[in-house]
């Protein structure tokens, strides 16, 4: 990954979000059950929502992505990864989504560490923070439903 300027980074992030959306579109298409088709479709739309947000940042030229620390429930950290299949349950879908968001978070944090200057570092951190927020949204749903009595 060779980033010459801020736009390269944002293009990379936009591409990442589209890839995530495509991944969920495929799962939606492959799923046997109607409600899981709808679930993955909704996940895909969420990813496209993230893409739109980053695209807006790029177009506006205002590179301020929030850096406030996002709550990390760390649920995803200890869950066994879910395997993709045409018969995934909603629980497995949430695990999959959490793990993907965490991986994206780690990637951006790694890139922020090796970024050559503070502007780029901060932008990567901001993008990592966005992924942390997405993960938290899935963790909260998992927490509320699967751990209802815990």
């Amino acid at each position: 990954m060779d980033f010459k300027n801020i736009n390269d980074i944002l293009d990379f992030a936009i591409k990442n979000e589209q890839q995530a959306a495509d991944f969920y579109y495929k799962l939606s298409n492959d799923s046997v059950e109607k409600q899981m088709k709808e679930t993955f479709l909704a996940f895909a739309k969420e990813e496209e929502g993230h893409k739109a947000r980053i695209t807006k940042v790029k177009e506006s030229g205002e590179y301020t992505l929030e850096e406030k620390k996002v709550l990390d429930l760390k649920l995803g950290d200890y869950l066994v990864p879910a395997k993709t299949s045409e018969k995934m349950t909603y629980q497995e879908a949430l695990i999959l989504a959490m793990k993907r968001e965490k991986a994206a978070y780690k990637l951006y944090m790694k890139l922020s560490e090796i970024a050559p200057n503070d502007t780029l570092k901060n932008l990567f951190k901001g993008l990592a923070n966005e992924e942390a927020k997405h993960k938290l949204r899935f963790e909260i749903e998992y927490d509320d439903i699967i751990y209802a009595e815990n």
């Binding site: 869950l79 066994v80 009595e149 815990n150």
Partner: protein
């Protein structure tokens, strides 16, 4: 007559007026709330005898006299099946215990069950005038309900509503748990030919497989179920609708409507490392095998291993039932592992109190993150993440947050996972035109009717895991819905 007029008319009867005049309200409110007699904790934790012994006649009379017989009985609003609470309590005060039981049975055919397992403290008793206005302990409505039901049963004069009218229209109820039993009761009274199809070999659903005998003796359930048999409800056991026969098969046999009450029998696991190790059970399996299949008794051939160091994950009633069962099966350490603090526990206060008395250890603010197995793949230890409480979540409980680096390992030889349950997936997955939520619950309208017009549903298959009495409330609403549906079909 609408419900308000009915309550008013009942309240204005002479015997109620006389009773009210007998004791001044300030003298009634000065009476201390009765205490439920209980078995000795150090003895009961070695056997299966029911913990709560029930009120004596003298206690019931005194407690009943605390009830003010309010003009606006808010307690009824807190009851999902709208029992005429003041009327049954005043019948107790009037020494007419059979009339008290009959009053409860006007709207609830399972008073001995509900008197034992309903969370009255967050339902009728929470709405009691004492709680709301006087900020005093409520009238012990649940204890009194149980007293009336037990008195009737022990008297040998159990009243069974007479079912004289029969319309010969066949209705299938799928699942013999609280929701299914409640629907069947109301439908049979309306004249329908009702058959309950039950997957297991016993009727009662969660009342039998989920709740241990020390909290709800099976005999109590059997007697109340038997009343339904007397009323004409038919039971078909070991029959799985969706496997043994399809909905179409049953339609061909003449069933005109269905009530799906297949419950939340699918346990949630946490999906953490090592959770597949031997001797890690779901609470559903652990309790079912012990409660329903005699697994803890050596003379039966389906033994369940229950070790010396037992950890139960969760803080609900099912977790309390599991951990107290483990103690009774000989655990030296029977522990609750719960992510939050005692204040956030979903279990009833009484169950937590009983567990503490019986020597259960509570590792609150701890969450399992990994299980470690020995060379035979049997669980031998678990890693626990210590937690602290953050901001309240959507349930109003403070959300647990892991404390960085605070991880400890404890020895365990048995683990029971009781973090929650999901709806039984068989029917939702097998009917393509049935509208189902992403969590697998059946979506219904206000009449409990699903997207398939002759299929109604209620209880945990709709709610995803709730209380016995809420399931019964669903069942009663569904019976009305089914009746309307059949009437509309006849008209058409």
């Amino acid at each position: 007559m609408d419900i308000t007029d009915y309550l008013k008319e009942e309240r204005n009867k002479e015997w109620r007026k006389t009773l009210r005049a007998n004791i001044k309200p300030k003298d009634r409110t000065a009476i201390e709330k009765v205490k439920m007699p209980e078995e000795n904790p150090n003895i009961r934790n070695t056997n299966n005898i029911e913990v709560n012994k029930g009120l004596t006649k003298e206690q019931a009379l005194i407690e009943a006299s605390r009830c003010l017989d309010c003009a606006d009985p808010t307690c009824i609003k807190g009851c999902p099946v709208n029992i005429n609470i003041p009327k049954f309590i005043k019948n107790i005060e009037n020494n007419d215990f059979l009339a008290a039981a009959a009053t409860i049975k006007e709207t609830n055919s399972f008073p001995a069950v509900c008197g034992r397992v309903c969370p009255q403290e967050i339902q009728c008793e929470e709405q009691c005038f004492y709680t709301q206005k006087l900020h005093l302990p409520s009238v012990a409505i649940g204890y009194l309900e149980r007293f009336a039901a037990d008195f009737e049963r022990n008297s040998g004069k159990i009243s069974v509503p007479e079912v004289s009218y029969k319309n010969n229209i066949k209705i299938a109820v799928i699942g013999g748990g609280p929701a299914g039993l409640a629907t069947a009761t109301d439908l049979i009274k309306l004249g329908y030919d009702v058959t309950i199809f039950e997957a297991l070999h016993e009727i009662g659903g969660v009342l039998k497989y989920g709740i241990p005998e020390f909290r709800l003796p099976n005999e109590i359930v059997d007697i109340e179920v038997n009343n339904l048999t007397k009323m004409g409800v038919k039971f078909v056991k070991n029959f799985i609708v969706g496997k043994t026969a399809s909905f179409d098969d049953l339609r061909n046999e003449g069933f005109k409507a269905f009530f799906v009450a297949s419950g939340a029998g699918l346990p949630n696991f946490m999906n953490i490392l090592g959770e597949n190790s031997i001797n890690i059970f779901s609470s559903n399996e652990y309790l079912t095998r012990i409660n329903l299949m005699n697994a803890a008794k050596t003379q039966f051939d389906t033994p369940v291993f229950s070790g010396k160091n037992v950890a139960v994950i969760g803080g609900g009633n099912t977790a309390m039932d599991s951990v107290r069962t483990a103690k009774r099966l000989g655990a030296e350490r029977a522990m609750i592992i719960y992510r939050r603090s005692r204040e956030e526990m979903p279990a009833r206060i009484e169950e937590v109190k009983h567990a503490i008395e019986e020597g259960i250890e509570f590792l609150n603010l701890h969450n399992p993150i990994e299980y470690i197995a020995d060379e035979n793949r049997k669980v031998k230890a678990m890693k626990l993440q210590k937690m602290e409480l953050g901001e309240p979540d959507s349930s109003g409980r403070r959300r647990p947050i892991p404390i960085d680096g605070a991880i400890e390992t404890i020895d365990v030889d048995t683990v029971v996972v009781a973090v929650g349950v999901s709806p039984n997936p068989l029917i939702p997955r097998n009917l393509s035109n049935l509208q189902v939520s992403k969590w697998g619950t059946i979506i219904v309208n206000e009449n409990m009717q699903s997207s398939v017009e002759d299929i109604f549903a209620g209880g945990d298959i709709v709610r995803g895991g709730a209380t016995v009495i809420l399931a019964m409330g669903d069942g009663r609403r569904a019976a009305l819905g089914i009746n309307e549906f059949i009437k509309s079909k006849i008209k058409a």
